[in-house]
Symmetry: C2
Subunit: 161 residues, 2 copies
């Protein structure tokens, strides 16, 4: 057990700031989204990903991978969204095991109604508070971290080790 390199003052400030921002931003965006559109953030993400897809439909596993969700979580969540009439499940023609999620008209309507307000909130509480340089830096830095982590994560999807 060697004495670790603790975070120095600037590092600590960045780390604590990140975690605090994370929490507050999440709370606020979720709050506005529920209030204005009756959707949770996970709902929004599912609908958003589906609506950006050419045919408004995706294989479950494909959607799960894009969202970095477990298949189980997605399955549970889709069941709830299906109850509310936002999405439907269809059989997958290409693979008898699989299924396909599709946006319903109500789902499409929900995301179209929610999107402008949500983007505005993201601007108001984050993007518009940053300088162009900061936006650039944030893009660069997050993508570097993601690339670093993504390898492990994908690898871990297959087997533990």
């Amino acid at each position: 057990m060697e004495e670790p390199r603790w975070l120095d003052e600037r590092e600590d400030r960045a780390w604590r700031g990140y975690r605090r921002m994370r929490r507050l931003l999440d709370l606020e965006l979720a709050r506005e989204l529920t209030q204005d559109a009756g959707l949770s953030e996970p709902d929004y993400d599912v609908l958003s990903d589906l609506s950006e897809t050419p045919d408004q439909r995706l294989r479950l596993s494909e959607l799960a991978d894009r969202m970095l969700w477990s298949r189980s979580r997605l399955s549970h969540h889709l069941s709830r969204m299906q109850q509310r009439g936002l999405v439907t499940r269809e059989e997958c023609p290409a693979d008898g095991r699989g299924s396909v999620v599709a946006l319903t008209p109500a789902g499409r309507q929900a995301i179209e109604a929610a999107a402008p307000g949500h983007v505005a909130a993201v601007r108001r509480h984050l993007i518009d508070l940053l300088t162009p340089e900061e936006i650039e830096a944030l893009g660069a830095l997050t993508h570097r971290v993601v690339d670093h982590l993504a390898g492990d994560h994908r690898r871990r999807g297959r087997a533990e080790g």
Copy 2:
């Protein structure tokens, strides 16, 4: 309903990167923490806040405010941690309604055992991947966003409006 200002390419890159990083970093840090120390991130945060306090103890409401948790969440979580012997509840001498959480020896031992590995993981997956300029920028930007959000959040604690 006016057409909103959608995110441009750089803004979108920053926003998506942030959310992806958020998710992956969280998964990885939580995974290592559980594996190496048998603690969840919320456990770690509670123990960490308590251990940084002079007397190793805090009023529930004080701790909840620091962590940006609801009182209810904290109460539930402390019950679970109490079960595991990491903390205890004590009566508050100054206010008969209140109570005080205190670190147990086991709790102190747990956080001391967990901290070096956790800090190392934070370095490995985030801090050490950034340039000094980026760390500086991240600190500045997150604190600006937090300040912007903190007002609303505190205000909302009292009354809805």
